[in-house]
């Protein structure tokens, strides 16, 4: 039985490997370049797109939003990926942004924690170490245990840029996955952490920020502030290749919405 299963698996692998070969041989490449935070989103979208369009290959180069914008303006890639809105001077240089999705970041605490609402300033204060005790924000007299992600993580980058705490955060723990952050927060009543909105479960409590609870609706209407846009960047006046245009349209289509929510972001549709 086991042998049979192994054989079947090997066969499937072999076939999929062959399929992969054929696709790249036919050509038609879409190159994307930019934000590391968008890895999961672009991964899900390009996988779905390549499945539907035999022969097109979508590549992704995780270099960061800035480098991605640079790359598309120099014509080194078809579509740039940015997890921030374009600056005015970037727009003036002839780039166009198209909003693909919104990424909401939930600030989470243990369900046993009495605090359920913080302002953005209080959150920033906690992460920079100015506020050290829960009693200063209306909770118990207990030291706050600040949990975050490792340097370079997209969620950390997003959280720190929105709360304007880049480089100033004093973490007690730096964990390498969303799951680890949630496990740690769920097992320590004094911990605070952040995680992608889609990862919030009933093991932990997502804080309201300035009175607004994080949800798809509040992220979409902009009232929940710890969020950022995921943008597709293109060059004005420069026509995309057929394959790139098809991928671009696919990303914004209704079909793509399911892959977006699967990757943990809120579709703008």
């Amino acid at each position: 039985m086991k042998k049979l299963l192994t054989l079947a698996l090997a066969a499937v692998l072999a076939v999929s490997a062959l399929a992969g070969c054929r696709a790249s041989q036919k050509g038609g490449t879409v190159s994307t370049d930019g934000s590391t935070s968008m890895e999961e989103v672009i991964g899900a979208l390009s996988e779905a797109f390549m499945e539907k369009n035999d022969g097109v290959n979508v590549t992704y180069n995780p270099t960061g939003s800035g480098s991605g914008i640079q790359a598309v303006s120099e014509g080194r890639c078809d579509i740039g990926l940015s997890s921030r809105a374009l600056k005015d001077e970037e727009k003036q240089s002839g780039l166009t942004e198209t909003k693909l999705a919104l990424d909401g970041i939930a600030v989470i605490v243990n369900p046993a924690n009495g605090v359920s609402d913080l302002t953005l300033e209080q959150i920033a204060g906690i992460y920079t170490g100015e506020i050290k005790n829960w009693k200063d924000v209306g909770g118990n007299d207990a030291e706050i245990v600040v949990i975050g992600r490792e340097a370079g993580s997209g969620t950390r980058d997003g959280f720190e840029s929105i709360t304007k705490t880049e480089g100033d955060c004093k973490y007690r723990q730096e964990l390498t996955s969303t799951g680890d952050v949630i496990t740690t927060v769920s097992s320590n009543p004094d911990a605070i952490g952040y995680a992608s909105l889609s990862a919030v479960s009933d093991k932990i409590k997502a804080l309201k920020v300035g009175g607004v609870a994080p949800s798809e609706t509040t992220v979409k209407d902009g009232s929940y502030v710890i969020q950022r846009p995921f943008m597709l960047i293109t060059k004005e006046g420069k026509e995309l290749s057929a394959a790139a245009q098809a991928f671009f349209d696919f990303c914004l289509s209704d079909d793509a919405a399911q892959y977006l929510s699967g990757a943990g972001v809120v579709s703008v549709k």
């Binding site: 590391t36 995780p62 706050i144 370079g152 480089g167 973490y171 007690r172 723990q173 730096e174 097992s187």
Partner: protein
């Protein structure tokens, strides 16, 4: 004719074995050369002294600083702590199993030790995260239980199997005549074990310890889940980052000089492990000569 055929087969098999042996050697060489080539540039740019003795690691700050002294000290302390906790337990278990324990108990405990060796490190990490870290938090009344102590406890448990198994082998290799002679001269069994058997097996036991050191310094996954990973100078209840976890936690998103510096950390770790292996070889060789 037949003999020729046999000889040809013999040569072919020899060739095959040689080839397989060369693959192993080739892998080691490849890794060594790759690590040196990719690890040197960052050390060159940062400066050896700044790199090895710098106290701040802020790889994504602007301007970044790459000092790995906290990692080196944490790895050394963590390893030392694991040895202090793990060696007495493992060593005494080995003495008990090889000399005192009735066969049934010996078989059961040895099976358990074998199982301990087979548990994947991520499972150690998970159990540490869910049980040990909250436990340390409750026992010592500190805000957060993750840190050096949690890592030491996890590492101590992880190195037990290698210490127990290698020590048992060493103790069982002691000729029975030694022990018989000691008993015949009027020494009690316990005196015999600790005055005769253990000294006779000492180089083997030393090898066991060194093997444990190697495992402790190279472990990443389990440690990453319980140590907290913030960059601090080592202290028992502080969140700390080891050499291994420094590489593992930042590698996935790194680029440029940061990535090169991570390779340099790997190179330092590699040198540490080479040193430990050299020590192991030294002990084993001495045992061979005895």
């Amino acid at each position: 004719m037949k003999k020729n055929k046999k000889q040809a087969l013999e040569t072919a098999v020899h060739g095959l074995f040689l080839l397989l042996g060369l693959i192993t050697v080739g892998c080691v060489l490849l890794i060594t050369v790759y690590l040196i080539i990719s690890g040197i540039p960052a050390i060159w740019k940062i400066g050896l002294i700044n790199f090895l003795f710098g106290k701040t690691w802020e790889s994504t700050a602007n301007p970044p600083s790459f000092g790995i002294l906290p990692f080196i000290l944490t790895s050394v302390y963590g390893m030392a702590g694991a040895i202090v906790l793990g060696v007495p337990v493992g060593f005494l278990t080995a003495v008990f199993l090889s000399k005192v324990a009735p066969p049934k108990i010996k078989a059961t405990v040895q099976a358990a030790v074998g199982l301990l060796a087979g548990i994947p490190s991520v499972v150690y990490g998970l159990v540490g995260m869910l049980v040990l870290v909250p436990g340390i938090r409750a026992v010592f009344h500190i805000p957060d239980g993750s840190g050096l102590l949690a890592a030491i406890v996890v590492l101590a448990i992880m190195i037990l199997p290698s210490i127990v198994n290698v020590s048992i082998t060493a103790l069982e290799a002691v000729p029975k005549e030694y022990e018989d002679a000691s008993l015949a001269l009027g020494a009690t069994p316990v005196e015999t074990y600790f005055r005769v058997s253990v000294p006779a097996a000492k180089s083997g036991i030393a090898a066991a310890v060194v093997l444990g050191v190697g495992r402790a310094i190279g472990e990443a996954m389990a440690v990453m889940m319980v140590a907290g990973n913030a960059v601090n100078m080592p202290s028992l209840f502080q969140s700390v980052r080891f050499l291994t976890t420094a590489v593992a936690s930042e590698m996935s998103y790194s680029g440029g000089l940061q990535r090169q510096a991570l390779f340099s950390i790997a190179l330092v770790l590699f040198l540490f492990i080479m040193l430990i292996n050299a020590a192991l070889n030294f002990f084993l060789k001495r045992r061979g000569e005895e």
